[in-house]
Symmetry: C3
Subunit: 218 residues, 3 copies
């Protein structure tokens, strides 16, 4: 009762939708900047902005959920936001590069949010809970994998480093467990999951917590 | 009235279908030749011929439009044409290599045609106009991206060079704009778009018009 | 009559399902071991185990057949088996490495089985016979291609070497030909196809039969 009232006031879905677009915008900028750094032309910058912005959502919708065309191509807002990020990066790539700290923070919020959005869509699409975790994590990290494959680099999330995918996994596991087992209302589960991923990500950057290779050096 | 009569006589759809198969055939040959150049065996040549021939269409149908199995696997003609291109390349790869000029010309027609075919299918599949442009451009250039990723090369269309994806973009934008805004009949829009992409592509080769990296050298 | 009775006793579908899971398990282990070898962290090992285990099935279901979410995410057994393979590889990667011979044998059975499973699903999904062969071969070899692309290696099946994809092709062609033309009952077609792929694969290892590059050295 209390939860549903709160949800009514805060307008859960449109809050999510707004955040989704902000995350797409920032991820698109980070992809565009990487392409500019690589000395690509405007085509390369545009393609990288696109896949960095909505690559995770494309994997989610096109590979795993398969309920019609992906949101990225049925709702114009996504492509408009990506095009805006592209133009902005083309013009202001030098000052944008200095926003490193801001991007890190928003990226850390995006990590959990994308995990929740993906898992939510997967559960609604009839996937099993374990698969919802998988889809959530791919939604959060898939764009980075696509970007690295296109840039011909070894996907950075595979290699030892600060917790990134790990933070997304913890957030998504929390969301799916709460939603399927405890059922405290979608919004509380989401907020808790996003907060957990955010905190883990920032702590791992601050204290340089790192994953380790499974195979030890000889 | 006039347009629809013309369309009746020229038989728009089957003209398109024939051209589609010719383009698949030539793109498959160019993929096969690249694989042969790379010292691959017949498997590598076959896989590259396949993805170079229908890769753009697979991205279009499987990732973006999602209305059942891709045309490439529900209509035998595509696989037969690809297999023909594969056999021909296996036997005649030396003389074929010299057809550089012909391949360039047909490729320049294919660029606009694939853009139009992709955008047309996207609009019919209920995608928004901006997304139709995107799908058209991927239809025209996606096979090349897949080929480069499989060959473990940096996708050539990302890097500065003569207008290629640029020509596809102009053609697709013309087609979608005309179809959605002006509505002069599908056929005129298509012909104009294909001609524009063709001319831009050839002029860029003839006068060596080149795109530039966004990041200037220091 | 005779065939359908036999099928009843042996319980064709659940035999297949059991084998499918065993193959997923072993392919996931081989992907996990490759990731460990590459000095990846647990994320890299998990992602590689996943794509090596079900990558071929994902290509089959998501790109070619497109009849709803892939089996790998609607049936928990697949993800549980992959997670088991992941844990086992994390703990026992040293001794597992020595099971080379066993993995080779099971892989050789899996090659034909995956080809049959893929072609069977494609025919049921309304694809043309030629496409069913294609889908079968991708089902058998697609995971390896994805793994190599993610590990930033040239896909090994493209390069000259012992018959691998070749064995899958022969098996799948036998299965589709028998099923579409001769119709001896699904089970006999499947067993013959799997046996053929298995024998060709093992003979090619034993006698070091190799494919050759199409382009000869100068």
């Amino acid at each position: 009762m209390e939860t549903s009232q709160l949800t009514q006031y805060v307008d859960f879905d449109s809050t999510f939708a707004a955040f989704d677009l902000i995350a797409v915008f920032l991820f698109a900028i980070s992809g565009a900047l990487a392409a500019i750094e690589k000395k690509y032309d405007f085509i390369g910058v545009l393609v990288l902005a696109f896949f960095s912005g909505v690559g995770g959502g494309l994997i989610r919708d096109a590979i795993f959920i398969q309920a019609g065309p992906p949101k990225a191509v049925t709702d114009s807002k996504y492509l408009i936001v990506i095009f805006g990020a592209f133009l902005l990066s083309m013009i202001f790539h030098k000052p944008l590069r200095r926003l490193h700290r801001t991007i890190l923070l928003v990226d850390a919020v995006g990590l959990g949010t994308y995990g929740v959005v993906g898992a939510h869509a997967a559960l609604q699409g009839g996937l099993v809970p374990l698969a919802a975790i998988l889809v959530g994590v791919f939604n959060a990290t898939g764009a980075g994998i696509i970007r690295d494959v296109l840039l011909r680099e070894e996907p950075i999330i595979f290699k030892p480093g600060q917790f990134y995918a790990g933070a997304a996994i913890v957030g998504t596991v929390i969301y799916v467990t709460l939603t399927v087992v405890v059922k405290p209302g979608d919004m509380w589960a989401a907020l808790l999951a996003i907060a957990a991923a955010f905190v883990i990500r920032l702590l791992s950057v601050k204290f340089n917590w790192r994953t380790r290779p499974i195979l030890k050096e000889n």
